[in-house]
């Protein structure tokens, strides 16, 4: 049911864990629905220097989390804000249709972490 790429990220997810002194933290989802993810970012000069995640969820939830961190690492905050759910799914070689909405939340978690960073920095509105 899953692509090889999804299974690869599920087996060996990148960037798992927490960053205790994170500059931004974003949590999305709800355990009631079966998916909950938290994304931690370290930022230097408007660039994501480190990123980690923790995810409760199905194979797709874990794989999209891993892929999203992979895609965001080293990117500027502006570039990272442009990563969409669809980009993540495409990079994974597609997701089953039923998983597109429920488990493809990792990009949202990334965006939430960036917004949290801006908030902590006192930046009022996120530039798109």
């Amino acid at each position: 049911m899953y692509s090889d790429k999804v299974m690869e990220h599920f087996k060996n997810p990148k960037n798992t864990g927490e960053i205790s002194d994170a500059d931004g933290v974003g949590t999305v989802g709800n355990p009631v629905c079966g998916d909950l993810m938290t994304m931690y970012i370290k930022v230097k000069d408007e660039r994501i220097t480190d990123i980690k995640f923790k995810t409760f969820g199905c194979g797709a939830a874990i794989a999209t989390s891993s892929m999203t961190t992979d895609m965001a690492k080293g990117k500027t905050l502006e570039e990272a804000m442009k990563i969409t759910r669809a980009d993540v799914a495409t990079s994974l070689g597609g997701l089953p249709p039923v998983k597109m909405h429920c488990s493809n939340l990792a990009a949202d978690a990334l965006h939430a972490a960036i917004k949290d960073y801006y908030k902590k920095q006192g930046v009022p509105e996120v530039k798109k």
């Binding site: 997810p13 355990p31 009631v32 629905c33 079966g34 993810m37 923790k54 199905c58 194979g59 429920c102």
Partner: protein, 394 residues
């Protein structure tokens, strides 16, 4: 990496057909292909085989006579025939039907369908083990009730319902009791006469017969309405030329199930108990779903806190082990199992459930292999989960 070992622990989803049942059905596809409705020799040969299979299924559940067995296309049809058949036949007497909140969808959905046709359907609660709340049955049962339909044993959590007590309560009123014994018949002894059951659903594949065949026991003297109208086969309750090869194999499977029941029951119970112990003991926050002792010999439903069922299923699949999950994420509906929710589990708890269902081919070696795999799978996923308490992270 190639998988070297394969262990099937998802026999609830599908079982192989017993080679003896395959052997029995073959002549009825090759040479004895007559229609039992024909009066010539080929037809009568088929008729004889049909009657013989009927007797074998009747013997398995101790039906008072072979003619009380109606062959169908499987458990879903049998459940539909029982529920709609009774409800429609007796609607002048009453329009209330009672069932439980832990039924298979082939009971839930006919009951819901009937509510669109002027019937009332009540779904009784269960306790934390999935056992029916008998008090609420007594309360709901009234003179308008024509049918109570309760599962013999639950296919998801294994709990066996107190059918004898239910039967006594139901028969204090003028209602019929239908029992869905799909996953239980052939595994545990069932005696419809001793239990006082009026209608009972039996499935072929669940007892190592072919898929696409089943039966409904209808107690002698009870009249119900058919779903299909046609040539009047199966006493007019199931028109259409009989699936002779399927029915013959089903009959053989029922005969074998009866003969070998004690051996299989003992073997599976031992494997089940070892698996439950081996899964629960080494890991904290691990729980058994369903009743600890009054349960089917082949079902082990376990839930692990802080992680989700499909990710466990995939992890096991990577090690060559097939199981199924109670989680939304492995289903089409995206809702966690209604059975798990009915036992009082929260959504996130239901999501963390997986079900192992054993089969005749499983060995103690298989069980030990799975027990050995689980701690590293669970710990890996828990380490990744934001819900896991800090003290569990090593």
């Amino acid at each position: 990496m190639a998988i070297t070992k394969r262990v099937n622990m998802d026999y609830a989803a599908g079982k192989p057909v017993d080679p003896r049942a395959i052997e029995a059905m073959l002549p009825f596809m090759k040479t004895s292909y007559g229609n039992p409705s024909s009066l010539h020799i080929a037809g009568q040969e088929a008729k004889l085989a049909l009657d013989e299979a009927r007797s074998k299924v009747a013997e398995l559940i101790n039906a008072e006579k072979a003619e009380s067995i109606i062959f169908t296309s499987g458990a879903t049809e049998s459940n539909n025939l029982a529920i709609k058949g009774v409800a429609n036949r007796y609607k002048d007497r009453g329009t209330k039907i009672i069932t439980s909140s832990v039924e298979h969808m082939s009971v839930v959905n006919p009951a819901k369908y009937l509510t669109t046709k002027g019937f009332e359907a009540v779904f009784l609660p269960v306790d934390k083990f999935g056992s029916l709340d008998l008090g609420s049955l007594e309360k709901e049962l009234n003179d308008k009730t024509t049918l109570v339909s309760i599962v013999y044993a639950n296919g998801e959590i294994g709990t066996i319902e107190p059918i004898e007590e239910i039967s006594k309560i139901v028969h204090t009123k003028n209602a019929f009791l239908h029992v869905d014994a799909t996953v239980a018949a052939g595994q545990v002894p069932i005696d419809v006469q001793a239990l006082g059951v009026d209608l009972l659903t039996v499935s072929s594949n669940d007892m190592y017969g072919p898929k696409g065949v089943g039966a409904l026991y209808v107690k002698d003297g009870i009249r119900i309405e058919p779903l299909f109208h046609g040539g009047g086969q199966e006493k007019g309750l199931r028109s259409g030329t009989e699936n002779i090869p399927g029915v013959v194999a089903f009959g053989k499977a029922a005969e074998i199930a009866k003969q070998e029941m004690q051996t299989n029951l003992e073997k599976l119970t031992k494997l089940r108990d070892r698996l439950i112990e081996g899964l629960l003991d080494p890991l904290p926050y691990t729980f058994l779903n369903g009743h600890p002792t009054i349960r089917l010999p082949d079902n082990i439903s376990v839930r692990y806190s802080f992680i989700e069922g499909e990710s466990m299923l995939l992890s096991l699949e990577m090690e060559g082990v097939s199981v199924s999950s109670g989680s939304a994420c492995a289903s089409k509906t995206l809702e966690p199992s209604h059975v798990l929710l009915a036992t009082g589990l929260k959504h996130e708890e239901a999501h963390g459930s997986i079900m192992f269902s054993l089969g005749r081919e499983n060995s103690l070696e298989d069980v030990e292999y799975v027990i050995g795999l689980m701690p590293s799978i669970i710990n890996r996923l828990r380490k990744m989960s934001p819900l896991t308490p800090k003290e569990l992270e090593g």
